[in-house]
């Protein structure tokens, strides 16, 4: 029983990270109307940036601050130099572009950081665990839960309560309106991509001390981000959280009894949900 409760907590922590990934992807895909197959690679780069920054500066917190910003800048560059030229090109070429980018980033990771997995310790203050009564639980995971929750809330506040957020939501729902309001749509696209990349980057950075790093981590996460968006709906914040928690918890619970199936179960859960609700959890489009 306690094992199960512990696993559910684990599931909530990873589920929140999945929600972050889905949210970032949702911003990019929704606002720019492109399939972003590089989203997983951005996640992986976030994790590797963290390791390098921590290695250079010896401070986890600085790493957590700087690494995602680096990823956001990378996103900015990708949008500005590449994606921007493809808005009229059709999803097939857009996909090929982002997929090619994913291949390149993935291989660059191997070239720069090596093909072998790296493990990374949480900062000293977050090592060890706390007694929650029913289980002894790692501090770092509690931190991740709080941090991811904070980021989700911040994103929600940004989207719902600020002018820029309102523009961004309008960009998802009705692009014509954005142009009618006299807002430079290119600017909106660039910011949305950078923001989505930031969320992917920070999710990657937060994941590093939990799961360690490996070049394949990006692709695995890409599929998961797709699941979150397919179930939660584009631009649907609550949907992303619900979908993220659903698959995070399902994965953690299954992992306790049948480790081998713990990744496949994410996609199996998605298939099962879609069988019953083809339009996703909240029935959007």
């Amino acid at each position: 029983m306690n094992l199960l409760l512990g696993q559910i907590l684990n599931g909530i922590a990873t589920g929140m990270l999945y929600a972050l990934m889905g949210l970032g992807l949702s911003l990019i895909t929704g606002v720019l109307n492109i399939p972003n197959f590089a989203h997983g690679a951005l996640f992986a780069i976030g994790a590797y940036f963290l390791v390098s920054v921590v290695g250079l500066l010896g401070n986890f917190w600085l790493g957590l601050l700087v690494a995602p910003i680096g990823v956001a800048l990378l996103g900015l560059l990708i949008e500005y130099a590449g994606v921007r030229r493809l808005y009229a090109a059709g999803h097939d070429y857009q996909l090929l572009f982002t997929f090619g980018l994913a291949l390149i980033l993935n291989e660059l990771i191997i070239v720069i950081w090596g093909p072998v997995g790296i493990s990374h310790l949480p900062p000293a203050i977050l090592r060890g665990g706390v007694d929650l009564g029913f289980t002894f639980y790692p501090k770092y995971r509690l931190f991740v839960m709080a941090m991811a929750g904070l980021l989700v809330v911040a994103t929600w506040l940004f989207l719902e309560k600020t002018r820029y957020g309102a523009i961004m939501r309008a960009g998802i729902e009705n692009k014509e309106m954005v142009s009618l309001l006299g807002i430079d749509i290119h600017w909106l696209f660039t910011v949305a991509f950078a923001l989505g990349a930031y969320l992917a980057g920070i999710a990657g950075a937060l994941t590093a001390p939990i799961r360690g790093l490996s070049p394949g981590m990006g692709v695995d996460m890409l599929g998961i981000a797709f699941v979150v968006v397919a179930l939660g709906g584009l631009g649907n914040l609550l949907g992303a959280i619900a979908a993220g928690l659903l698959i995070g918890v399902a994965q953690a619970v299954v992992a306790a009894y049948w480790t081998e199936a713990s990744t496949a179960v994410i996609f199996a859960v998605m298939a099962a949900v879609l069988l019953v609700r083809p339009q996703g959890l909240f029935g959007i489009r």
């Binding site: 090929l96 291989e107 070239v111 599929g223 797709f226 968006v229 990744t263 489009r285």
Partner: protein, 305 residues
């Protein structure tokens, strides 16, 4: 007619130019591309999960070939069936959504099959792949001889091409193109669009399955990548560079792609990086596919000389 002559000439000449194994791979990949293009070019459905059907067929038929010594034709039949059935399952979930959701779903379900293959090591060998897939002799022909196998593959390729031509020239071909052109109108004149999309999926899956079995027998192994996303991406890439607008596009694309990846893989172990660069260069500069690229290079060389 001219296309047919060209293809026949290519079939005959190819093994004299490249190793028979590579030549076989080109036609196998072309069959795979033909299946995808029914979805991508004709129906307008960008499936990024075709390796699901390719890989599933390769694993199932490969396993039966290895452990139950089934015949070559049985293996082909089983591969086609597995390809079609897996496409039916995946397609059923995907055709209910459209646009970007559709693309993401094909990929996510591809991942489902990938992770099953990855973890089910007792059957698939996991990351090491499933080696030891035989090429049993049939009617006294020893398919272990690369040239004999090449001829076998070529005949199946020509058969596939003929079959696909029949399909795209049939009412079904028209209906699928109608769906690509205008889904709402296709529905309004009386076609159940999701059902037809599903049919396209199943046919495309059958072709992918055939390609998968031939691939497993060609290399004697089913590598894990056979069911991975890179394979799905490669067939999309090949079809697009060949031109998804015509029946023959995937064949040209298969040539270019296999040649490209073969030559890059001898250059550098990290050749997927070069492949990624190639994707981006094509997308940014040669979006019309090889036909347009050829045209541009031609004009450029005329200007410089």
């Amino acid at each position: 007619m001219r296309a047919l002559v060209l293809i026949l000439a290519a079939v005959v000449l190819l093994p004299f130019i490249v190793r028979p194994a590579i030549a076989s791979e080109i036609w196998i990949f072309a069959i795979f591309g033909l299946g995808l293009n029914l979805l991508l070019g004709y129906t307008g459905l960008l499936s990024f999960g075709q390796s699901t059907f390719f890989g599933s067929a390769a694993y199932v038929a490969g396993y039966l070939l290895k452990h139950y010594a089934i015949g070559v034709f049985a293996a082909l039949g089983i591969g086609v069936a597995v390809g079609a059935i897996s496409a039916l399952l995946v397609g059923y979930l995907c055709v209910q959504r459209s646009g970007l959701y559709f693309i993401m779903l094909t990929f996510a379900l591809n991942q489902l099959f990938y992770f099953i293959a990855y973890q089910w090591t007792t059957v698939t060998g996991g990351e090491d792949g499933m080696p030891g897939v035989p090429r049993p002799a049939m009617l006294g022909i020893d398919f272990r001889d690369p040239v004999a196998y090449y001829i076998f593959v070529s005949v199946l390729f020509l058969l596939s091409l003929w079959l696909m031509k029949r399909i795209v020239d049939s009412p079904l071909g028209k209906i699928l193109q109608g769906i690509r052109e205008n889904e709402v109108r296709a529905e309004a004149v009386g076609y159940h669009v999701p059902r037809f999309k599903l049919l396209a999926f199943v046919i495309g899956g059958a072709f992918s399955g055939l390609a998968g079995v031939l691939y497993a027998m060609l290399f004697g192994i089913v590598p894990l990548e056979a069911i991975g996303f890179v394979t799905s991406g490669n067939v999309v890439f090949a079809t697009l560079i060949g031109g998804s607008g015509s029946l023959y596009g995937p064949i040209i694309g298969s040539f270019v792609f296999i040649w490209l990846s073969e030559s890059m893989s001898v250059v550098w172990a990290r050749w997927p990086l070069l492949l990624g660069v190639a994707f981006i260069v094509v997308v940014l500069f040669f979006r019309g596919g090889v036909v347009e690229a050829w045209d541009r290079i031609w004009r450029f060389s005329k200007r410089t000389t």
